[in-house]
Every structure is written in structure tokens, then in C-alpha cells.
């Protein structure tokens, strides 16, 4: 019962050791009955080796369909203070930049309305305010918007987009990831807040192929910065790297280039840029000597997802190269066309990546009006089960 402090011997073990302790974090807020009971319930889970949360419930703020995950304890009698323990997902500022003031604002709001426990941040990128009651949802929301914050996504909607730190701090950013994520987030507020898709749709923005937001694994649409022209080489700096002994230019750089398109004669690093696949390795290895080219933009990839239902997918190349310039009209129209056909023909709980595999990438491209290009594939089909249409007969011999 929440009035008397419950012993948590198992959890207490996790206060030890060098890594920051989440138990200590919880205990910092343990004066609150809600957290006191949370500790109690969690200790019980540690004893029994099962969770004690019931399957979510439909709670939220007025006019929104997402942004809140309803959660109830199945030990509500025993731990009444956390019997209701909903989370709110708050759309993070692009790149997770804060001022001390902004951070305190969030802390203060959550002090007044919730458990005082957060996740900085959720896996999708949101600020997660962890644990509150249904009656607090509206007031929290009002205070948040008052201070310029809004909810993120949940359910079958566009999810809170996120971006790597990009041009704010990184020399390799091939486009303005923060500008883009803000722009797209603002453009699609309705799609973010009111679930109307077959399933979730995530956007992630990475400034270069290093993909520091894991967009290729975690977003239905990945914008990954890249370039079309030559890598910028400062030969003096290459020599300096070689001289320093920190890098063996032949072994550590040339031999690890995926297309082996570099050569090094001890004096000059030659790059056959036509065969460079912009993997970033040589640039990563010798940041002072090399930099992406000047004709920069992004590759758009589509369809990543976790295993449910048909198996996990990585994103695949959709637009091999596009200039990333506001107001991004072309891209927004493309997204609109994708959402239209997926919403119309997608099955319930079918991510866009699975949808494309089901109907066939070729057909999908045709329907959204994008030309197939060989950059989209690793290799053409090996399987001879081709759905020929009449157009093949129109062009006999055209390839010769």
C-alpha cells in the first residue's frame, strides 16, 4: 500500500555500479505516491519475473487520436497510486536541443501533473512523460501548448519525425536535417495527431550515410544525406595522416573501400569517384583530409520496420538523389501520393514496406508515378514469374 515505504531489495541491487542507475532516478521521485507504488510494483515484477501492466486503454486529449499511451496496473488494489499510469509523448525539438529553461519548463509541468519520471527520449524520438492519470491529460496538454510544446504520434498515424544533429554540429551534413524535420513535422500536424493510416508511418532525417538516427532500420521513410560529385581531398592532410602513423592509408582506407575505387601511391590518394558509393568510410577515417563533395542532397529510402507481422525490413532506395531545399514541394507531393495509395489499398496494420512487397515495387512505382531506376535494386529479378503486360509487345528489339 502506498502509505508505507515498501522494501525493494532486488531493485536496490541496481543502485550499485558505475552506470547511472534508473532505480536512483525513481527514488529521486519516490516521495510521490505514484512513484512509490511504481517501485513497489516493479519490485514485484522482479520477484515474479512478469510485468504487471494491463493491455493499454483508449485515453487521450480532446481532438487528438494519438500521443498518449493508456496504461493500467493489474495490481491496482495493491498499488493504487499507479493504478493508472499513462504516458504522454511530447514532440521533441529537432535534434534534441534544449536550453536549461526549456528543460525546466518540462520538469515543472510534469512536477505538477505527473509522476516526475521521464524518458529522454523515447525510441522514436519523443520526450516521454512517464505515468499520469487520465484526469491530468488535458491539463498537462494545456500547459504544454501554453509553453510551445505539442504531442507526438502514436497509433496508426505519422509518427514524430526525428533527425541527427546535422549541420548544427556535424561537418558532414549534406543537407539541413533540423530544418527539414521541423518543416515536415509542421506540414503534417494533422497526420501526426489524427491516426488515419493503415498503420504507423515514421520519417527520419540523417545528414549523411553514417545515419546517426538509424533511419534505414527504423523509419518508413529515411532521408539520408549524400552527394553526387567528387569527394573533396586535401592531399597534404592525407600525407599528414600517413606520416602520423595513425592511419595506414592503404590498409585502413583503400582496402576497406567497398568498391576499391581508391588508390594510394604513398603521395597521392586517387579516387575513382564514378565508382564511389558514398559510403563515408574514407571520410570517417581521415576527417581532416576528406569531405563529401559539393553537389549535396539526400537519397530517400522507403519501408523499414520491426518484425511484426511479415518480418523486419530495412528501408530501400526510392529516390536515389534529390536536392533537399525548402519548401520541399516535390517530396511532400510524393509523400501525399504514397499515403493516398497506401491508405486506399493497404491492409490494416500493414506497414508501407510490406505493402510495397505485397503489391510489387514496380506496380507501386507506376501508381505513384515514379520511374523505376536500377539504383533501387541490388540486382534485377532472378525469378521468371513475370506479370507481362501489353506494353512489352510494343517495343520489340528496342533494347538491341
Amino acid at each position: 500500500m502506498s502509505e508505507k515505504k515498501r522494501e525493494t531489495p532486488l531493485l536496490d541491487e541496481l543502485e550499485k555500479g558505475p552506470w547511472p542507475s534508473f532505480v536512483k532516478e525513481l527514488k529521486k521521485e519516490a516521495a510521490r505516491p505514484m512513484v512509490q507504488d511504481l517501485l513497489g510494483q516493479l519490485e514485484r515484477s522482479y520477484e515474479e519475473k512478469v510485468g504487471h501492466w494491463k493491455h493499454g486503454g483508449l485515453v487521450g486529449v480532446m481532438g487528438y487520436g494519438g500521443g498518449v499511451i493508456g496504461r493500467y496496473s493489474d495490481l491496482g488494489e495493491e498499488f493504487p497510486a499507479c493504478a493508472e499510469f499513462h504516458t504522454m509523448r511530447i514532440n521533441q525539438p529537432a535534434g534534441w536541443f534544449y536550453t536549461s529553461t526549456a528543460l525546466r519548463t518540462i520538469a515543472d509541468i510534469w512536477d505538477r501533473h505527473g509522476s516526475g519520471v521521464t524518458n529522454m527520449h523515447g525510441s522514436t524520438g519523443d520526450i516521454i512523460l512517464l505515468g499520469t492519470k487520465t484526469q491530468e491529460l488535458e491539463p498537462t496538454f494545456a500547459e504544454l501548448t501554453e509553453h510551445g510544446f505539442d504531442l507526438g504520434g502514436s497509433g496508426s498515424d505519422m509518427r514524430t519525425p526525428s533527425a541527427c544533429v546535422g549541420p548544427a554540429r556535424c561537418e558532414w551534413a549534406c543537407y539541413d536535417t533540423l530544418g527539414a524535420v521541423y518543416d515536415f513535422t509542421m506540414q503534417f500536424q494533422d497526420e501526426l495527431h489524427r491516426p488515419a493510416f493503415p498503420y504507423k508511418y515514421k520519417l527520419k532525417f540523417a545528414g549523411c550515410p553514417n545515419d546517426c538516427v538509424a533511419s534505414v532500420a527504423r523509419s518508413d521513410m529515411s532521408f539520408i544525406g549524400t552527394w553526387r560529385d567528387e569527394i573533396q581531398v586535401d592531399q597534404e592532410q592525407v600525407k599528414a595522416y600517413a606520416a602520423s602513423g595513425a592511419i595506414d592509408v592503404q590498409k585502413d582506407v583503400c582496402d576497406r573501400c567497398p568498391t576499391r575505387c581508391m588508390s594510394w601511391d604513398g603521395k597521392t590518394l586517387a579516387i575513382d569517384d564514378v565508382n564511389c558509393v558514398k559510403c563515408m568510410h574514407c571520410i570517417n577515417a581521415m576527417p581532416r583530409a576528406l569531405a563529401p563533395g559539393n553537389d549535396r542532397g539526400a537519397a530517400i529510402l522507403i519501408g523499414a520496420k520491426a518484425p511484426i507481422v511479415g518480418g523486419a525490413l530495412l528501408s530501400s532506395v526510392f529516390v536515389p538523389f534529390i536536392k533537399m531545399e525548402p519548401p520541399y514541394e516535390e517530396i511532400k507531393e510524393l509523400i501525399g501520393r504514397i499515403w493516398d495509395i497506401w491508405s486506399e489499398h493497404g491492409k490494416n496494420r500493414e506497414r508501407v514496406g510490406e505493402f510495397i512487397q505485397r503489391i510489387g515495387l514496380g506496380n507501386f512505382l507506376e501508381q505513384i508515378g515514379l520511374d523505376p531506376v536500377p539504383e533501387m535494386i541490388v540486382a534485377p529479378r532472378a525469378n521468371p514469374y513475370i506479370f507481362y503486360q501489353d506494353d512489352v509487345f510494343a517495343q520489340p528489339g528496342e533494347e538491341a
Binding site: E13, K16, F22, V50, G51, W53, Y64, L130, P307, L314
Partner: protein, 365 residues
């Protein structure tokens, strides 16, 4: 609270207001960076301006007390500026290098060690576990804490690695987080079919959705005591829990049979090799709270073997592909079992369709 017209769809605050002046000035004009010491790097702009970043560990689950602490530290050392990373560390953005060491000292005092930059182990991307999710086959925060206590030297820079090593944790097959593409992925697994509460099914679940949710078609409509419910063909169930996601009356959690599997060799960066999925290393380890010693030992073993054998820049998966999986199993001492052989939709793609086999009995790296 306020009686003003309700604000909606305002979106997040614009990031620009949160950027430190040195970033505003040099936005998009950075020239390079260097790692000064574990957890500290400096970025240099074309203008010559410098930005010092101090990266500190967080458990991700943060109290507002800690948020206020970070705000105080930012005020004191970094002009009130800080950010979080895509792996849930906190970064203080300093202009004055003189502030670096005092900040580190104060962070250490508060229990937030500094590190994770460069060829290191950074924070473990993870999920809710028993703290908040109904689906969890294990706790998240507890496993992460236990593993990171063990791996801490690789974070703090007292032990080094050939390349970046990304660890991720997810508490069920929904895999919230890039678990499926991590150097080491720790994944909570159910290993028992759902327990059907026939009384609740008709009340709580749409039977056609439940049937459709099962990847293997194990769920069938059934009539139980005259009411419509579902049944699960036990041999067809591989415990994914997707039926439970759409139907609360099909509980997955099972104290004795939930546990943890370990996957290796995934990555998401395009550096050198293409992004890849993590592959099964250890099919099952028991849930053993509060410190999951079996899991900690298994992860630690993987890191140690990788550290000893991989070449410079080589990620876990790149190293394994170079030496071959048979050699990986030999070096790590992990037994190879039938569970390692895929048997789902794309199973055939994982078979060795050539004679490219290292034949030697005593193969070493």
C-alpha cells in the same frame, strides 16, 4: 488551466531558439572535429570557432530532479545549452574549454560518467520493460543497467575497441528501437503460446483481426462453451505476441518461460559495408533479476572476443563476415543449434549455396 482558446497542432518548438550562439553562427559551416579525450570532442568551424561537446551517460529514465540538475550544470558550464543524442546520452555544448574538466568532475560526482565517443560502447538503446509496457518478456532498464555496469570501461575509454559497438535492448519482438540492426542486440522473448481467456475474447477482441494478426496462421476461430473465441494451434505458434497486441485476452507473459535471446553483427551505418540485420547468437537465457548474470556474461564474452580479434574500423558484423560464422561460434564457444537456422519466409536465403567453406579442423582467426 487557462481559459484562453485551446491550442492544438502547434508542433514542437522551433529548434533554433535552443541552439547555442556558436552553433547559430557556424550552422552548416563546420570543418572538422577531434576527440580530445574519452567523452569529449571539439568541432572546429570554417570561421575558426570551436565547440566543445561533453557527452555523459544517462539511464534514459530520468527524474525531473535530474533534468533540473542538468539544467543547472548547463547554466554553470555551457551557457544553458545542452542536447540529448539519438542514443539517449546527454551532451553539454561548451564554448569555453576551461569548463570541460570541472563539468566532467561534477557529472562524475552526480553519477553521470562521461564517454561513448569514437570506437567505444555508447548507451544501450532500449525500451520500457516492466516499467511501463504490457508486452514485455523481460525488464529493460534492469538488463541495461547490469550490462552497462559490466561494459563501463568500454564506455569510459579505459578499454578500447576496434570500432563502434552498438548495443540495443528490446523487451519483446515488437523491437521498439533498432534492435534488429545492432552489433549486439538483447531481445526479450516469450517462448510459450498465449493463454487464452475465453471469457474475455468475445468482449475484448475482434476475432477476424486476431486471426489475421498471426504471422503463421496459428490462430483459428473456435467455439468454446457455446461462445465464439479463438484457439491456437500450439505447434504453429512461435510466440511473437502479435495476437496479444490486438487481443488483450491472449496473455503472453510467463514467469518461467520468458527470457532473453542475443543477436549479433547488425549495423545501420553505410560505412564500408551495407546496413545489416543482427543474427542469432544465443537462442535463450533465463530471466534472472535483478542482475541477469547469464546475459551479462554472454554479452561480455562477445565484446571480449570481438575486441581481441577484429581489425581497426571493423564492426562486429564485418569481423564475423570476414572470419565466417563457423569461426565465430568456435571463438565465442557458443553452441550452434537448430535454432540458429532460419525457418521463416526467407529461410532459404540463409543457406550456404556454394562450397565456400573453411574446411580446416583447427581454424583460427
Amino acid at each position: 488551466m487557462s481559459s484562453a482558446p485551446r491550442k492544438t497542432d502547434i508542433g514542437p518548438p522551433h529548434f533554433e531558439q535552443f541552439l547555442p550562439p556558436v552553433i547559430k553562427k557556424n550552422y552548416g559551416k563546420w570543418k572538422g572535429h577531434e576527440i580530445i579525450k574519452p567523452g569529449v570532442m571539439v568541432h572546429v568551424a570554417a570561421s575558426g570557432d570551436k565547440l566543445f561537446t561533453v557527452r555523459a551517460a544517462t539511464p534514459r529514465l530520468l527524474s525531473i530532479a535530474t533534468l533540473r540538475l542538468f539544467a543547472d550544470l548547463a547554466d554553470k558550464y555551457s551557457g544553458g545549452h545542452l542536447r540529448f543524442t539519438s542514443r539517449n546520452n546527454v551532451e553539454f555544448l561548451l564554448s569555453d574549454p576551461a569548463n570541460v574538466d570541472p563539468l566532467i568532475a561534477e557529472l562524475a560526482r552526480e553519477g553521470y560518467g562521461v564517454g561513448g565517443i569514437g570506437p567505444a560502447i555508447s548507451n544501450i538503446v532500449h525500451t520500457q520493460g516492466w516499467v511501463h509496457c504490457h508486452s514485455a518478456a523481460s525488464d529493460a532498464s534492469g538488463v541495461v543497467k547490469s550490462v552497462m555496469d559490466e561494459l563501463y570501461p568500454y564506455f569510459a575509454g579505459t578499454r578500447t575497441l576496434p570500432g563502434k559497438l552498438r548495443v540495443a535492448f528490446a523487451c519483446c519482438l515488437n523491437m521498439c528501437g533498432a534492435v534488429h540492426c545492432s552489433d549486439i542486440a538483447i531481445l526479450g522473448v516469450h517462448t510459450h503460446p498465449p493463454k487464452i481467456n475465453d471469457k474475455d475474447v468475445p468482449k475484448m477482441c475482434e476475432i477476424p483481426s486476431v486471426v489475421a494478426s498471426c504471422p503463421t496462421g496459428a490462430v483459428r476461430p473456435a467455439t468454446v462453451d457455446g461462445a465464439s473465441s479463438v484457439e491456437v494451434i500450439q505447434e504453429q505458434c512461435m510466440y511473437c505476441g502479435n495476437c496479444f497486441t490486438v487481443c488483450p485476452a491472449m496473455k503472453m507473459a510467463d514467469a518461467e518461460r520468458d527470457g532473453i535471446s542475443i543477436w549479433v553483427g547488425g549495423k545501420v551505418s553505410n560505412a564500408r559495408s551495407e546496413p545489416k540485420f543482427s543474427k542469432l547468437a544465443v537462442p535463450f537465457l533465463p530471466n534472472n533479476p535483478p542482475r541477469w548474470p547469464e546475459v551479462v556474461a554472454a554479452v561480455s564474452n562477445l565484446v571480449t572476443v570481438y575486441a581481441a580479434h577484429a581489425r581497426k574500423f571493423e564492426r562486429m558484423g564485418e569481423w564475423i563476415e570476414r572470419i565466417g560464422w563457423p569461426q565465430f561460434f568456435k571463438l565465442t564457444g557458443i553452441p550452434f543449434t537448430k535454432y540458429h537456422i532460419d525457418d521463416f519466409r526467407h529461410a532459404g536465403e540463409t543457406f550456404r549455396r556454394s562450397t565456400h567453406v573453411r574446411q580446416s579442423k583447427e581454424a583460427e582467426t
